[in-house]
């Protein structure tokens, strides 16, 4: 049972096609299992089509429709019916749905990118009881930051500096912060300046998908844990 949802402003930006990419990944993963957010997105897409309707058209060069139609004629000639040209995306989706059937722990759209086993990921140790794994090639992440974080039971989730919105989706276990307890499927949608100190569940720990608008800089956990002791 999902208790914590995405902010309406986040959903609207997603429907508008203007939400930073890393955040989109969390929105897609959450809405694939959350009918109430998915329903909001549909109304928000309707808003998009109404605004799109009123756009001032820019005439195409004369040859354009013929070019597109020529492309279509070529497709007809090669006996490709509209419905038979399933592209990579649909096959990735179909594959993801199969994965989802086997292991519903990972939302289908995400499974297409990370596979179906959370325990099988190339986890890298970030500090005491905390691991992370990038989704997609790290070097190509552009402005945003998207990664999975695995936290051992009863540990503090890594604090990181960032700007703008941060989205956290729980995939396994749960965590608790000053705001609430977040379980599987829940998403926490906060501004960068919100201070919170999430602690993972004492028995299960947690695995989360975390996205932030700007590149995240995870503070060295060891340094942070040692700091109070050494007084540095």
């Amino acid at each position: 049972m999902i208790k914590h949802h995405l902010n309406d402003a986040t959903l609207m930006s997603y429907a508008a096609g203007s939400l930073p990419e890393a955040l989109c990944a969390v929105v897609v993963a959450h809405t694939s299992n959350c009918s109430s957010c998915a329903k909001k997105v549909r109304d928000m897409e309707l808003v998009g089509s109404l605004l799109f309707d009123k756009i001032e058209p820019v005439e195409l060069d004369g040859s354009a429709p013929t070019l597109a139609l020529r492309g279509i004629a070529a497709e007809i000639d090669s006996v490709i019916k509209p419905h038979s040209s399933a592209d990579n995306i649909s096959s990735a989706r179909a594959e993801a749905e199969i994965h989802a059937g086997i292991c519903s722990e990972i939302p289908a759209p995400l499974a297409a990118f990370i596979g179906n086993n959370l325990d099988d990921l190339p986890w890298k140790r970030l500090g005491f009881g905390v691991w992370h794994a990038h989704v997609g090639p790290e070097s190509e992440c552009g402005r945003g930051d998207l990664r999975l974080i695995k936290v051992a039971p009863g540990q503090v989730l890594p604090e990181h500096t960032h700007g703008g919105t941060e989205l956290t989706l729980v995939l396994r276990g749960s965590y608790k912060d000053e705001i609430a307890t977040f379980g599987v499927g829940d998403v926490e949608d906060v501004d960068g300046d919100t201070e919170h100190q999430p602690v993972s569940d004492a028995k299960e720990g947690c695995i989360c998908l975390i996205a932030s608008e700007s590149p995240a800089k995870y503070r060295n956990l060891v340094a942070r844990l040692v700091q109070p002791l050494t007084g540095l």
Binding site: N7, A9, M12, P20, C24, V27, E45, V47, P57
Partner: protein
């Protein structure tokens, strides 16, 4: 819904009539690869798609290519659309939107992710909701036109210019929180306008 009722509704709401027409064209493309219907769709949508792409910074040539590609995608995926599932314009908007994300905002190489489940017209809409789809659109249209100027502004920048909340905040010289609350308030009014249609 009975045909007569439908026609009556179309007469009362010219916008619905146009959108119904678009749905029919799209269905003809889906069902029998109707090239004439496609040409009509092309003439109706391609110039607006071109304009939409230019607003996100595409030069006229690129925008024209993207408009063609959008319409070709509509041709190829027409079978995924069904007029019982929702508005044709909304479906077409989502395709143009996804293509714009894909081509004009290369932040991540794995662009398929945001397309996810939304490009397909939703297939989980119960029958009673199908009936109210056009009414819904009409009401949202009214609510959208009635938005206070500051809310309408952030909504337009987000949808048409493709600006993120942070970019809007920068452009308007506002705190990020203000931009987000204007978006939220705008959505609240839109939701209120269709609340009794659930």
């Amino acid at each position: 819904m009975q045909l007569m009722e439908r026609e009556e509704k179309a007469r009362l709401h010219p916008r619905s009539s146009k959108s119904k027409e678009m749905s029919e064209l799209l269905s003809r493309v889906a069902e029998r690869g109707d090239v004439v219907a496609f040409q009509e769709l092309f003439e109706n949508f391609a110039p607006r798609v071109k304009s939409y792409m230019m607003r996100k910074g595409a030069d006229p040539n690129t925008a024209e290519e993207l408009a063609q590609e959008t319409l070709l995608t509509i041709w190829r995926k027409a079978s995924l659309y069904s007029d019982e599932k929702g508005s044709a314009t909304t479906w077409i908007f989502t395709i143009a939107r996804n293509l714009r994300i894909d081509r004009l905002r290369r932040e991540f190489p794995w662009q398929a992710l945001p397309e996810g489940h939304n490009e397909e017209a939703s297939d989980d809409t119960p029958p009673d909701e199908q009936v109210s789809e056009r009414e819904r659109k009409q009401r949202i249209h009214t609510a959208l036109s009635a938005l206070p100027r500051d809310q309408h502004e952030v909504v337009t920048l987000s949808y048409l210019e493709g600006m993120s909340h942070s970019e809007i905040a920068e452009r308007l010289g506002l705190p990020l929180g203000t931009v987000k609350s204007r978006m939220r308030l705008a959505y609240q009014k839109i939701r209120e306008s269709v609340e009794d249609l659930q």
